[in-house]
């Protein structure tokens, strides 16, 4: 079996040698393959893999930038930012989390429930991910934590920035911010792109309207992480860019003054510059504390706000809809004169009511006003006189004039909470209710009741446009860079900012203004009791009350007074005015919910606000002429 002869060895060696040669060829091919692969991975496609490697390596934590500041007309910050103190815990860095919580409980006011919630959160996430224990520590608490920090391994005191509102006079206009919700993310693309969990976003008011511009540009913390996502070291930081700053037309001084004035009632006050439409003040009462929402409002406080009878969350100036009541008589009179269907000297005898198609239509004054003309009818707010005017005018012509003066449409641009109200006419009723118009309804519309619904800001705009001589205004709340119209630019017939006239004959406007003056400054006028005697404050106004329920015959005969009714059945008190009468500058509207009559509840408030606004007129003018508001 075994042979060791040399020929055997030679033949074997030959076979082995030949086959080894074949193997060597194969090996070379394989080596070439590996070489080729190395070239392709490390040279040709290296860039692609470098990117992939960096993607592995770096992780970014996005940082919320500080929100833009909102200022009032005089540059006072009404929505600003402040440093806040927070406490975070990184579970991984603590040896004993129970002990840490126990110690923290002694130092801070943390409830056991909160600790349980935190523990559940910790169980769900990775041990190196920090968790927020307290998002808003007081300075005392923060100092305490820092004092005991050596005993609190794993706890990290953090200084951050959050929104703060310096007073509570404008929460309805400014709105509030709170943590981003799923709904916000669904609706807003920029929030999805920012992709910061728990970022504060504007929920209502200007904060919501301006959110995209005011929120700022995202900052980031870039970390190198390992395969498990644990941060190894910080590579770069970028604090982000603060959001755009906005200047409003509001005068915070007036805001505070007015808010304080009406803090005990439910109502609203609007003040407008009659030349450029600047909203000087817009206060709604009762107010809420916008700071409560920043770190999450407590359920108790939220329930309290929602359950409040006076609806503190609603901005009554733009979201509250009320029948304009007798304040509409200014427009009814103007419309009748403009349409040439009424002579101001026409006299009508008011005996307290009129009969119309077998129905009685009452005047607010049971005894009647006697034989009066149009001027006196406005001055004394005679309903019977205006029934007659409205009947002759017709609801459609009235509606046209009312709409011209801004009723039934939004006053501000893109303000999500604003409602536009209703200016009823025959077509509107057919379309919305599906019934024909009754002539009796025209009479109700003529004294601002019935279907008529307006916001207090619309009434303020209407008054402003009467006061400036009948020119159309574009009201504004934000002074944007491209529209810095100031007093000097305003011209009635020529120049750059030509205002569109709303009248056919300006004499008619002047007539209404004069009648309003009478109403406030002549004995017998409805707001005579609230007049300001000093010439520079003297104003012209018109009272009104919007009915909640119509008086029954029994109540009328029993001479029931408003204050005898239960609160929610009382009329809303209204007052519109412009001042100073000689040289008008500002228009105002006041609404007090369930306040009874305009002369007793609304006019006295208007009187005080008008005084305040005119006192500050000089300052406002100086501010207007400052170089910061450069002329366009």
């Amino acid at each position: 079996m075994l042979s060791f002869n040399s020929s055997n060895i030679v033949s074997k060696s030959r076979v082995i040698g030949r086959r080894m040669f074949i193997l060597s060829v194969i090996k070379s091919a394989v080596l070439l393959g590996i070489f080729g692969r190395l070239v392709s991975l490390q040279i040709t496609e290296s860039r692609k893999y470098k990117t992939l490697s960096d993607k592995n390596r770096f992780r970014e934590w996005r940082l919320a930038p500080p929100r833009g500041i909102i200022k009032d007309f005089f540059g006072k910050e009404i929505a600003s930012n402040k440093k806040i103190y927070q406490l975070h815990i990184t579970p991984e860095n603590t040896k004993n989390i129970e002990l840490l919580f126990f110690k923290l409980k002694n130092i801070l006011n943390i409830t056991s429930e909160r600790i349980n919630i935190l523990k559940r959160k910790i169980a769900k996430q990775k041990p190196w991910e920090p968790i927020v224990v307290s998002s808003n520590l007081s300075w005392t608490e923060f100092s305490k934590v820092n004092l005991y920090l050596h005993e609190l391994q794993g706890a990290e005191p953090i200084v951050s920035v959050a929104r703060v509102y310096n007073d509570y006079s404008s929460p309805h206009i400014l709105g509030y911010v709170s943590k981003v919700s799923v709904k916000d993310l669904k609706r807003k693309k920029y929030l999805r792109e920012m992709n910061i969990p728990g970022i504060s976003v504007g929920k209502t008011g200007l904060e919501a309207k301006l959110d995209e511009e005011i929120i700022g540009d995202v900052g980031f913390l870039r970390y190198e992480v390992n395969a498990y996502g644990k941060r190894i070291r910080q590579i770069a930081t970028n604090k982000g860019i603060q959001g755009k700053e906005f200047t409003t037309t509001l005068d915070n001084e007036v805001q505070s003054f007015t808010a304080n004035l009406i803090k005990d009632v439910s109502g609203t006050v609007c003040v407008m510059d009659i030349f450029n439409g600047d909203i000087v003040s817009m206060v709604s009462s009762p107010a809420f504390n916008p700071n409560s929402f920043i770190h999450g409002i407590s359920q108790k406080e939220w329930d309290g706000l929602l359950g409040n009878r006076d609806k503190p969350m609603i901005n009554k100036a733009i979201s509250g809809l009320y029948p304009p009541g007798s304040t509409i008589k200014t427009i009814v009179a103007l419309s009748a004169l403009e349409n040439d269907i009424w002579n101001p000297d026409t006299r009508i005898t008011c005996k307290g009511y009129i009969d119309f198609y077998d129905q009685k239509y009452h005047c607010w004054k049971k005894k009647g006003h006697g034989n009066i003309n149009l001027r006196t009818a406005i001055k004394k707010s005679c309903d019977v006189y205006f029934y007659e005017v409205a009947r002759k005018l017709g609801v459609d012509r009235l509606a046209k004039t009312a709409e011209k003066f801004g009723l039934g449409q939004n006053v501000l641009v893109d303000f999500p909470e604003e409602k536009n109200g209703v200016v009823p006419n025959t077509k509107w009723k057919l379309n919305t209710i599906g019934k024909n118009w009754y002539i009796g309804e025209t009479l109700h519309t003529g004294i601002g009741q019935g279907y008529f619904l307006t916001t207090p800001l619309q009434l303020c705009l209407m008054t402003a446009q009467l006061a400036n001589g009948g020119y159309k205004l574009k009201p504004r709340l934000i002074i944007s860079d491209d529209q810095k119209i100031n007093l000097k630019d305003f011209t009635f017939g020529k120049g750059r900012n030509v205002m569109k006239p709303l009248f056919r004959n300006q004499e008619n406007i002047n007539f209404v203004k004069e009648a309003m003056f009478a109403s406030s400054n002549e004995p017998g006028g409805t707001s005579y009791g609230s007049r300001l005697k000093e010439k520079k404050f003297m104003f012209a106004g018109k009272t009104g009350s919007s009915q909640i329920k119509r008086f029954t015959q029994d109540q009328r005969e029993a001479e029931v007074k408003q204050k005898d009714l239960d609160f929610l059945s009382r009329d809303h008190a209204l007052f519109i005015a412009f001042a100073p009468y000689e040289n008008p500058k500002y228009a105002i509207s006041v609404l007090i919910e369930h306040g009874g009559s305009g002369s007793s509840a609304a006019a006295p408030i208007a009187k005080k606000v008008i005084k305040k606004v005119i006192e500050r007129d000089k300052l406002r003018n100086e501010r207007k002429n400052l170089s910061t508001f450069k002329e366009t």
Binding site: M1, N56, E224, Y228
Partner: protein, 372 residues
């Protein structure tokens, strides 16, 4: 047997007869591997790096001892060595240590030995000796094929059932290479393969789910990037991101940040490639090529058929180990769990390779020594 240890060579003769190119290549790879292990421990001379250094030192001495032992000794003890290794394999089956679902190791107090690694050398030794004795006329006789087939399939199946698909395939490949080199006609391999193909479906039924997953993953690694395909993808990212010059020693972010799995063992080449780039990769590839090339040269100048078959067989097996590992980390082969010779952390693999290289060197030193 023992009298064969005496060769009549002085130590000086032996040293002069050493193949210094091979020796220096091995030393170079060994030193590089220590740096690589140091880097894989994030720049600490800790457990892995320390162990690897000690092992390389000890086994390098072993390599020299084996080298200076005459080839006659290794020739005469070949069958004995094979059976010792086979016995160890059987012992593992019953007394082995389990880890991660497979039973591959046996506790020898000094090290946890993995006999399947040794068997890679044992099978070559066995077949080289067997075909040294079989005359060329008998090589293709069926009767003479029985021993090699049995000697090959026994360890193959034992290792396969450990289960260790990668090593069992490498043992099979080593054996097949030597058998073929010895002159066995290709048709027999064809028959054998045909038999395997027929039996394959049955074999697949015996595969562990993770083994099936590995094969599927190889076919489409991007399908499951966080699961089994993760290793291939991360390895490719690491190598590719190294670029031409690499990220620098201790700066391989993929391995440093633990994106790279098994960086001490199977993926040590990836780690090195990431840090030293294309230049480094080529250097390693060249060193391995040089070692294989030198072994073939030694085989060619060796007089005995045993020596020649052994050298050719070992060089091919060595080449297969290297290329399988590299193809694996380069995403050209499925992840089968094959260490890179010398570079990878692992005592048994290092022991087997250094032992095998020692015999090669012994062939070189005693190349002209006739077998009695």
């Amino acid at each position: 047997m023992l009298n064969r240890i005496y060769s009549g060579f002085t130590l000086r003769d032996k040293i002069l007869n050493l193949d210094f190119v091979l020796l220096l290549s091995i030393l170079a790879l060994g030193i590089i591997s220590i740096f690589a292990q140091y880097s894989s421990s994030s720049g600490n001379f800790d457990f892995h790096a320390k162990n690897h250094t000690i092992r390389f030192g000890v086994f390098f001495i072993l390599f020299l001892i084996v080298s200076f032992t005459p080839i006659n000794f290794w020739h005469s003890t070949s069958f004995f060595v094979y059976f010792i290794f086979l016995l160890l394999l059987i012992l593992v089956k019953y007394f082995g240590i389990s880890s991660q679902g497979s039973q591959r190791w046996i506790n020898l107090f000094v090290i946890n030995l993995q006999p399947s690694e040794l068997m890679k050398i044992g099978i070559i030794l066995f077949l080289a000796k067997y075909y040294h004795r079989v005359s060329s006329a008998d090589v293709n006789r069926l009767r003479f094929l029985i021993y090699p087939i049995v000697a090959l399939l026994c360890p193959f199946f034992i290792v396969l059932t450990q289960p260790d698909l990668g090593t069992s395939l490498l043992i099979l490949a080593s054996g097949v290479v030597v058998t073929w080199l010895a002159g066995v006609k290709l048709k027999f391999f064809a028959y054998l393969s045909a038999g395997f193909v027929v039996l394959a479906p049955i074999a697949i039924a015996f595969l562990k789910p993770y083994q099936k997953a590995r094969i599927l993953t190889f076919l489409n690694p991007e399908k499951d990037p966080l699961g089994a395909g993760y290793q291939i993808i991360q390895s490719k990212i690491a190598i590719g991101s190294g670029g031409i010059f690499g990220k620098g020693f201790l700066n391989g972010s993929q391995s440093y940040l633990n994106f790279l799995p098994e960086k001490h063992t199977d993926f040590i080449f990836t780690l090195f490639s990431e840090e030293f780039g294309f230049i480094g990769s080529i250097l390693i590839v060249f060193l391995y090529f040089l070692i294989t090339f030198r072994i073939v040269q030694i085989g060619t100048i060796t007089r005995s058929i045993f020596g020649r078959l052994y050298c050719y067989g070992f060089s091919t097996a060595f080449f297969i180990y290297v290329t399988v590992n590299m193809c694996m980390v380069l995403g050209l082969l499925p992840i089968v769990g094959a260490p890179l010779p010398i570079m990878s952390y692992g005592g048994s693999s290092m022991l087997a390779i250094m032992f095998g290289l020692g015999i090669v060197m012994s062939c070189r030193i005693f190349k002209d020594k006739p077998f009695s």
